[in-house]
C-alpha cells in the first residue's frame, strides 16, 4: 500500500464515517494544535495513542497503519536532523535532552499525519465537496475538487496506457544516463498533457450543455446536516482544547527523558 492509500476514502460504515466532515476537520485541527502546544513526550504519546481506538472504531486500521508506515521515511529524516543539530550544538555530545527533543518532534509529525489520515479515510470526497460548498466557498472550488478526485483514477489508468504504448515502440524507461532518462519521459508526459487538455475541453462542453452557470446561485440535492452526535463530538473536542490550554499554562508536566548510552 502506498502513501496514497492512506489518504483514500474507505467506503465502510462506522460511527466515525457518519460524523459531519466539518466537525471532523475541526477535531483534526485541534489535535494538530495540541501537538504543537506540547513538546513534552508524555502529552504527545497520549495524543497519538488516543487516536488508536478511534481508528479501530472507524474500521480503517489497516489503511491507517499503512499511512503511518509510509510517513516513516520523513519521520526518520526529522529525527536525524534534530538529533544532528542538537548533537552539534551541545559540543558534539549526544545528550538526553537532544534525544528526547528529537523523539518528540518526530512524534509530533507522526501525530499530525495520523489525525489527518483518519480524516481523509473516513470522509468521502462527495461530503468534502459539500462541506466546502456549505462553508460558503465558491461553488467552483468544490466542483474543481470533486472533479479532480473523480478523474484521478482515470488519469492514472491513462498514464499506464501511454507507458504501455510507448514501451511497445521500443522506449526503455530504465536505461541510460540520468539526462537520457529524464528525456525519455517526454513521450509519456506530452500525450498525458495533451489528453488532459482535450479532456478538459470535452468536460467544459458537457458542463455547458447541462446549463452550467445558468443561474447565479445553485440549489443542492444533498446537504450536510449537523446532528446531535456531531455537536457532542465538537463540544468534547473544544473542551479537550480548553483543558489542554489550562494544563499547558498551569500544570507541571512530568518529564520523560530518553537516556543516553
Amino acid at each position: 500500500m502506498s502513501v496514497f492509500d492512506g489518504l483514500r476514502f474507505k467506503r465502510t460504515s462506522s460511527p466515525v464515517h457518519q460524523i459531519d466532515p466539518r466537525v471532523k476537520f475541526v477535531t483534526s485541527c485541534i489535535i494538530f494544535i495540541l501537538a504543537i502546544m506540547f513538546t513534552e513526550l508524555l502529552p504527545l504519546i497520549v495524543l497519538l495513542s488516543v487516536q488508536i481506538p478511534i481508528v479501530y472504531i472507524a474500521r480503517v486500521s489497516k489503511e491507517w497503519f499503512a499511512s503511518l508506515k509510509s510517513s516513516l521515511l520523513l519521520a526518520i529524516i526529522i529525527f536525524v536532523t534534530n538529533a544532528v543539530v542538537g548533537y552539534m550544538s551541545s559540543d558534539f555530545k549526544l545528550t538526553s535532552s537532544t534525544l528526547t527533543y528529537s523523539v518528540s518532534m518526530t512524534l509530533r509529525f507522526i501525530t499530525l499525519v495520523a489525525s489527518f489520515s483518519i480524516f481523509f479515510l473516513t470522509t468521502s470526497p462527495d461530503d468534502l465537496g459539500l462541506a466546502l460548498e456549505q462553508s460558503h466557498f465558491p461553488y467552483e472550488f468544490s466542483f474543481a475538487f470533486t472533479t479532480a478526485v473523480r478523474f484521478v483514477p482515470v488519469l492514472a489508468n491513462e498514464a499506464q496506457m501511454i507507458i504501455d504504448a510507448q514501451r511497445s515502440r521500443g522506449l526503455e524507461l530504465d536505461k541510460g544516463s540520468f539526462m537520457k532518462r529524464i528525456r525519455n519521459y517526454l513521450p509519456i508526459l506530452i500525450p498525458l498533457i495533451v489528453n488532459a487538455i482535450r479532456r478538459s475541453l470535452e468536460l467544459a462542453e458537457a458542463m455547458e450543455s447541462r446549463a452550467f452557470g445558468a443561474k447565479k446561485t445553485r440549489t443542492s440535492l444533498f446537504s450536510l446536516q449537523i446532528k446531535i452526535r456531531d455537536l457532542l463530538v465538537l463540544i468534547i473536542s473544544l473542551f479537550i482544547l480548553a483543558a489542554s490550554i489550562y494544563v499547558r499554562f498551569n500544570i507541571e508536566i512530568p518529564m520523560i527523558k530518553i537516556p543516553t548510552f
Binding site: 473523480r150 458537457a206 455547458e208 440549489t219
Partner: protein, 282 residues
C-alpha cells in the same frame, strides 16, 4: 393547425475560428417534432458541427461567425445562451468518461438540475423519474469510474433527460461499445423516441443496427447536406454508395441481387423484409 418543425435551419454556414475552410456550407433543413433522425456521412463532413449549431455550442462556445438561421423550438440559437438552450436540447457526447464529473450517479443526474436552481423536491422527483426511464435504479450510488462504457452512456442519457429537453442529440454514442451494448443503447433511445415523443438526432456510422428504428436519414459530405429522406430512399440510392456511408449489409446484398431484374425499388431494411422479398422472387 400546422405544427412548425421543432428545428428549422436556413442557409447555415460556419467556419471554425482559425480554419480557412468552412465546416458547414449553406445548410437548409427542417426536422419535425418526434422524428428519429440519423445523421451520417464520412469523417469530417460536418455532422458534429451541425449538432453543435443546434444546441448553441456553435457559436457561443466555439466562437466564430455562423451565418444563416437556426431555430430550435422557435428560439433563435444565435440569440440564446447555451444554458437556456440546454433546457430544450440535450446533448450526449461520444466519450462516456468525459461527460460525467460527479462521484455518484445520483449527483451526476442532479447536476443539471442544480444548475437550473430547481427546488429540492422537484429535483428528487426528476431524479427518480430519470433513473426509472433509463432503468438504472440499481446504479444510483455507484461511482462513474466503476461503470462499464454502456452503463456510463446510460447515466449520461439519464443526466440529460432529467432536464426535460424535447430534443436529444447523440454524437456517435456507441463508438466505444460492443455490439450487444450498442443494440441495447439504440433500443433505449428508440424507446425515448416512441414513448416520450422526444425528437432524436443520432450521429452514427453503424447504420445496420439503426435502419428499422430511424424514420429520417440525413447524409452529409464536405460540409453540405447531400441527402435527406426516408431510410429506404437514402440507403437504396446510388449516391449513398458514392459518398461512402455504412449502408446496411441487407441493403447491399439486395442491391447485388436486384441487378438481375427486379420490380421493387424499395430495398428491405430488416431480415424479415429481405427474406419475404427473396421468397417472392422465387
Amino acid at each position: 393547425m400546422i405544427l412548425l418543425p421543432i428545428i428549422e435551419i436556413k442557409d447555415l454556414s460556419y467556419t471554425y475560428p482559425g480554419l480557412s475552410k468552412p465546416s458547414l456550407s449553406n445548410i437548409t433543413l427542417s426536422i419535425e417534432r418526434g422524428s428519429f433522425v440519423t445523421l451520417t456521412g464520412p469523417s469530417g463532413c460536418g455532422k458534429t458541427t451541425l449538432c453543435r449549431c443546434i444546441n448553441g455550442l456553435v457559436p457561443h462556445f466555439y466562437g466564430g461567425e455562423a451565418t444563416g438561421e437556426v431555430k430550435v423550438s422557435n428560439l433563435s440559437v444565435q440569440d440564446q445562451p447555451i444554458s437556456e438552450l440546454a433546457q430544450h436540447v440535450g446533448f450526449v457526447f461520444q466519450n462516456p468518461e468525459n461527460q460525467l464529473f460527479s462521484l455518484s450517479v445520483e449527483r451526476e443526474i442532479a447536476f443539471g438540475l442544480e444548475n437550473l436552481a430547481l427546488p429540492r423536491e422537484e429535483m428528487k422527483e426528476r431524479l427518480e423519474w430519470a433513473l426509472d426511464v433509463i432503468g438504472i435504479e440499481d446504479l444510483r450510488q455507484r461511482s462513474p469510474y466503476e461503470l462499464s462504457g454502456g452503463q456510463q452512456q446510460r447515466v449520461a442519457i439519464a443526466s440529460v433527460i432529467a432536464m426535460k429537453p424535447k430534443i436529444l442529440i447523440f454524437d456517435e454514442p456507441t463508438s466505444s461499445l460492443d455490439p450487444l451494448a450498442a443494440t441495447k443503447l439504440f433500443k433505449t433511445i428508440s424507446r425515448l423516441n416512441k414513448t416520450l415523443g422526444l425528437t432524436i438526432i443520432l450521429v452514427e456510422h453503424r447504420l445496420d443496427l439503426l435502419s428499422t428504428l430511424t424514420n429520417q436519414v440525413i447524409v452529409m459530405d464536405d460540409g453540405e447536406v447531400k441527402m435527406n429522406g426516408k431510410p429506404i430512399e437514402v440507403f437504396g440510392s446510388p449516391l449513398a454508395k458514392l459518398i461512402g456511408i455504412g449502408i446496411p449489409k441487407i441493403v447491399r446484398l439486395y442491391q447485388e441481387i436486384a441487378n438481375t431484374g427486379s420490380v421493387t425499388k424499395r430495398p428491405p431494411l430488416s431480415v424479415e423484409d429481405f427474406t419475404s422479398y427473396l421468397r417472392s422472387r422465387l
